[in-house]
Amino acid sequence: MSHSSMWDSISGIIRRDLLLAMRRWSDAAMSVFFLVIVVSLFPLGVGPEPAVLRTIAPGVLWVAALLTCLLSLSRVFTPDYLDGVLEQMVLVPQPLSLLVLGKVLAHWVISGLPVVLLSPLLGLQFGLEGEALGVLVLSLLLGTPTLSMIGAIGAALVLGVRGSGLLVALLVLPLYVPVLIFGAGAVTSSMAGIGGEANLSLLGACLVLSLFLAPWATAAALRIALE
């Protein structure tokens, strides 16, 4: 098969997913509201002490980003599985892992990118400023695609299973731990004045690793789900 038809398939899948997200924009909007509300609960619970808020900010923002990604995982493959599009996807004369990469990219644009764009505002709310704010955005920019990648494996594994919402959380959250540690660590160390470069590099490494391994693992899981 030629490169052009490979590109047709992948861009076709990305375009369709983005179009569907625009038609159902309320789903994406709900994720964003969820993020804002979760993040706003902490100052209410912990109290308005600026020093405390600044200390917990990296962890809170990162955990909230993680949960937002988790909530949207059920929308990656389940609708396609139920309406038969997934069968068509598996039978496309292109490597399934490349199509999966397209789907995950679309998922990131819909659910990860808004988190990245909103994060400076949420960071300000916690009294982050200057370099720390920049590192927060950068860490989320590197980290959220990894979350989508890892999440896709979980979403594919639980296809067609009863109570899959909770199961996918149990499967995926432990795998998110390194991303959480490096992501929140980058912001914390930048606030401490030692720079976040080391943690950001590790986040980048996680992203590269997941780009290589996750589409392949997800494709294998999807094939099993369809048998």
Binding site: M1, S5, R16, V85, E87, Q88, P93
Partner: protein
């Protein structure tokens, strides 16, 4: 030529069929018939490579489809009992995106012509698919038959919820495909109004 050699299939504890041999030449339609639960859909999914057989192999032009992998998918159009269309997209968008996904992109005009060929009027093209009836949704899925250039068509109950007029139109389309040396495998409960020399029947015992 599509050939099944010594196929057997088991779903859970039940053996659906074993040592099944069948050969379909170009220009022929294989109608797979049998009771509910006799393994018709499983056989079609084995033919499509979605389901690996427990034993035996499927050969396309003499080569095992599990060795051909994506090359085989390039010869194949599969329509399962699910329509594979999105409720939030219009008929035209659905058709265009499933053709693009299959690697055979079509123009908006081509999509509209295909939809008209299967009897969906222009008025319906712009509606989101969730307001269409079951039969209309099935027709949106079947409109791919007018656009696909693949030689092998695998169709699972294509005539479900179609009215008599649409059934005749689809049958004509199958006939045209057979005349161009195409090859069709259909799972169905209905009689297919095609010349006898084009038809081949496989009855699964169940």
């Amino acid at each position: 030529m599509l050939q099944a050699v010594g196929l057997s299939c088991r779903r859970g504890e039940r053996r659906l069929f074993s040592d099944l041999n069948v050969k379909v030449e170009r220009g022929k339609l294989l109608a797979v018939v049998g009771e509910n639960g006799s393994g018709k859909t499983s056989l079609l999914r084995i033919f499509s490579s979605l389901l690996p057989p427990e034993d035996g192999s499927v050969r396309w032009e003499g080569q095992d489809i599990h060795q051909l992998k994506e090359l085989y998918s390039g010869h194949l159009m599969y329509l399962g009992h699910l329509n594979g269309i999105k409720d939030d997209l219009t008929a035209v968008e659905n058709l265009m995106s499933s053709m693009a996904l299959a690697g055979e992109p079509c123009s908006e005009r081509g999509a509209k012509e295909a939809l008209e060929a299967i009897g969906l009027k222009r008025l319906v093209h712009r509606l989101p698919s969730k307001v269409l009836s079951q039969g209309q949704k099935r027709r949106v899925a079947l409109a791919r038959l007018w656009l696909s250039t693949r030689p092998l068509w695998l169709l699972d109950e294509p005539f479900t919820s179609l009215d008599t007029a649409s059934t005749a139109v689809v049958t004509q389309r199958l006939h045209a495909h057979l005349q161009r040396e195409g090859l069709v495998v259909v799972v169905t409960h209905q009689e297919i109004a095609l010349p006898a020399e084009r038809l081949q029947q496989l009855r699964l015992a169940g």
